[in-house]
């Protein structure tokens, strides 16, 4: 399941969704607001999404991940709005039969999210603010990737 939300991300609720007696390995990635960026002290971060399109892209990532690995349960949740230091901006959880698959699938999902989902962030410093430089989006998940 995918979710784009303005509310705090509840990692325990996400882990609860991973319950499944057939899978031995769960990997959860949490991305969160760091207190520094390029040597400057960050005070908070604004996340802005192209919501409709971001949901389409998040769902594509889930679909692609499931196509590449034997995923039994998966959740991708991305936060929007203003986040304080230490708050979770993105959570990705994957449950697979074996740990290697779960690590690879989770890593693929966060790497692809950063390359494809139309979300922007603006860092607020004590003395100003700046949009994070960002990367040119890739138009889709890399269908030809090897596992």
């Amino acid at each position: 399941m995918i979710e784009l939300t303005n509310e705090s991300i509840n990692s325990e609720a996400i882990l609860a969704k991973m319950e499944d007696h057939a899978t031995g390995g769960v990997v959860l990635f949490l991305g969160r607001v760091r207190d520094h960026a390029e040597g400057r002290q960050v005070e908070r971060m604004d996340y802005e999404a192209y919501s409709e399109m971001a949901r389409v892209k998040l769902q594509e990532i889930e679909n692609q991940t499931r196509a590449k690995w034997p995923v039994r349960k998966m959740a991708i949740v991305h936060r929007t709005g203003t986040l304080k230091l230490g708050e979770v901006s993105v959570a990705i959880a994957v449950a697979c039969g074996h740990r290697g698959e779960a690590f690879e699938a989770c890593r693929y999902a966060i790497d692809t999210l950063k390359e494809t989902v139309p979300i922007w962030k603006k860092e607020h410093f004590a003395d100003g603010a700046a949009w994070v430089k960002g990367v040119q989006p890739k138009s889709k998940c890399q269908e030809g990737d090897s596992k």
Binding site: E48, Y50, L113, E115, T116, P118, I119, W120, K122, G134
Partner: protein, 82 residues
């Protein structure tokens, strides 16, 4: 003429002070033609347009994609989610 909707995000939204706006374009207009039209209407965007990506109806669009009536075109600065 076709009516399409432009949507601005991130720095472009701030610079244009616009979230979305309709724009009239001729039949057969491509994204690459639209870039020029946007630059004319929002001169503040001009220096950014070379690194902007475009979407049509929630999918990334190539520069040679042809616009259709009712398309929603997103002007997407380099992304930084996660």
């Amino acid at each position: 003429m076709l009516t399409i909707t432009l949507r601005f995000f991130g720095q472009l939204r701030e610079l244009t002070n616009t979230e979305e706006t309709p724009i009239q374009v001729k039949e057969g207009t491509r994204i690459e033609d639209l870039i020029w039209l946007v630059g004319e209407r929002f001169p503040v965007t001009k220096e950014h347009l070379k690194i902007v990506s475009f979407s049509i109806d929630n999918e990334y669009a190539a520069k040679d994609a042809v616009l259709r009536e009712g398309n929603v075109v997103g002007l997407l600065p380099p992304i930084s989610g996660g």
